[in-house]
Symmetry: C2
Subunit: 242 residues, 2 copies
């Protein structure tokens, strides 16, 4: 097994992911929010790149909810922001949500070259890794790609720590896997801050930005591991429960 990582979505050329299963991580907060929304009963998420696309969906079908952010904050005319805590059962259950975020939705689209695409987060990492391992073995897949969304096309610590957790989970099953340099680095960073990721993230850019915007509870939420027992997949332009 090969495990390769990308530090932001712009690094990924479609050819890079060919024949691989891809895990896409925008820990703070797009993929965490999508996973939590689906876990709370949302029927599907449709990630789109532009605000106008989202508004067009709503025009065609009034029942959809619009969610996402620009500059970390709710978009004018949208139903929901990008905080996972806004996506409560009573709000999202049974609904289709059209989402647009700065990095996460773009990263999912950039991963289109992969055989299968799984939005990932600390909140459901173990279940997702287990599923991917099983499926990869069944279907003779030799590469798992971990695509960090990054922030503004830059290396982003929280995504890398979560990538490192996935490497940790995958390595357990594939102890002889080839890891590329970024997978090794993310694994070592994860192990160093395994017990308290806030210890390093308190110095990082995007984490601090969200803190300043008042989303402290989101930071706690997105860094908690494995309390969601469900796997999501991005397929035919839609995120759904596997």
């Amino acid at each position: 097994m090969n495990i390769v990582a990308f530090s932001h979505y712009k690094e990924v050329a479609s050819e890079d992911l060919k024949d691989s299963y891809a895990i896409v991580i925008d820990l703070l907060r797009a993929t965490s929010t999508m996973i939590w929304a689906i876990s709370n009963g949302a029927k599907r998420i449709i990630p789109v790149e532009k605000v106008e696309e989202a508004l067009l969906f709503k025009k065609l079908d009034e029942s959809v909810l619009l969610g996402g952010e620009r500059g970390g904050l709710k978009i004018d005319g949208f139903d929901l922001d990008n905080s996972p805590l806004s996506y409560k059962s009573e709000v999202v259950s049974g609904r289709t949500i059209v989402m647009t975020t700065t990095n996460g939705t773009r990263a999912l689209k950039k991963a289109a070259g992969a055989k299968r695409i799984f939005p990932g987060s600390f909140i459901n990492a173990r279940k997702t890794a287990e599923y991917i391992i099983k499926e990869a073995l069944c279907h003779d897949i030799h590469t798992i790609s971990i695509v960090c969304a990054g922030t503004e096309e830059k290396f982003t610590l929280e995504d890398i720590l979560c990538a490192g957790y996935f490497v940790h989970l995958l390595k357990k099953h594939f102890p002889d896997a080839f890891l590329d340099d970024l997978s090794i680095a993310s694994y070592e960073l994860y192990k160093k801050f395994e017990n308290d990721p806030h210890e390093i993230l308190k110095y990082s850019y995007h984490y601090n930005n969200l803190k300043k915007l008042g989303f402290v509870s989101d930071l706690e939420f997105c860094l908690k591991k494995d309390f969601v027992d469900m796997v999501c997949e991005y397929k035919n332009l839609v995120v759904e429960k596997v």
Copy 2:
């Protein structure tokens, strides 16, 4: 002070380095080799991107030495490979060397947008950091950029560890510096493997590649710290002693 890092030369847009001093690192081996050659008395290094450019220089001036690599090995018709250990005093003293390597020479050229550019390596990091700190304070420079060459346009562990050592040296003088996420990550990785970088590098791609090609002594050499007491600068397309 701001300290920002780039994981490979393709990540750098010329605008990114504006008004900053840049440290360019291709630890294994281009910048280590350049620094060692100059330290052994070479007059100057002219980094060029293509083999044909190097051959043209030789045609114009027979006294120049041609050095560098493709696939880690000496280029046909060249005088020297890319091993620092080939650049002995008796070979290089007083000479102009035209060098072309896969990543390092490109990274130096990609850093052209910076105010000043310093090739960096473990072998002269302390002296280089001290010089940059002094000059940055004198000339009111607010950003130090660390440009890792990377390998084949990918994140490369040995360059990141060396970047982390530079962050460590710069932080000592600027304890309140703003570090971007990659600088923080490189610093933490450096600190984790400070006493034995081989412990992590033995899993990394380029390090292993050089090992397989028989350059074990180069790996030892390039990871030794601060035995060169001299600073190099890349200016007007030429690397010289400051």
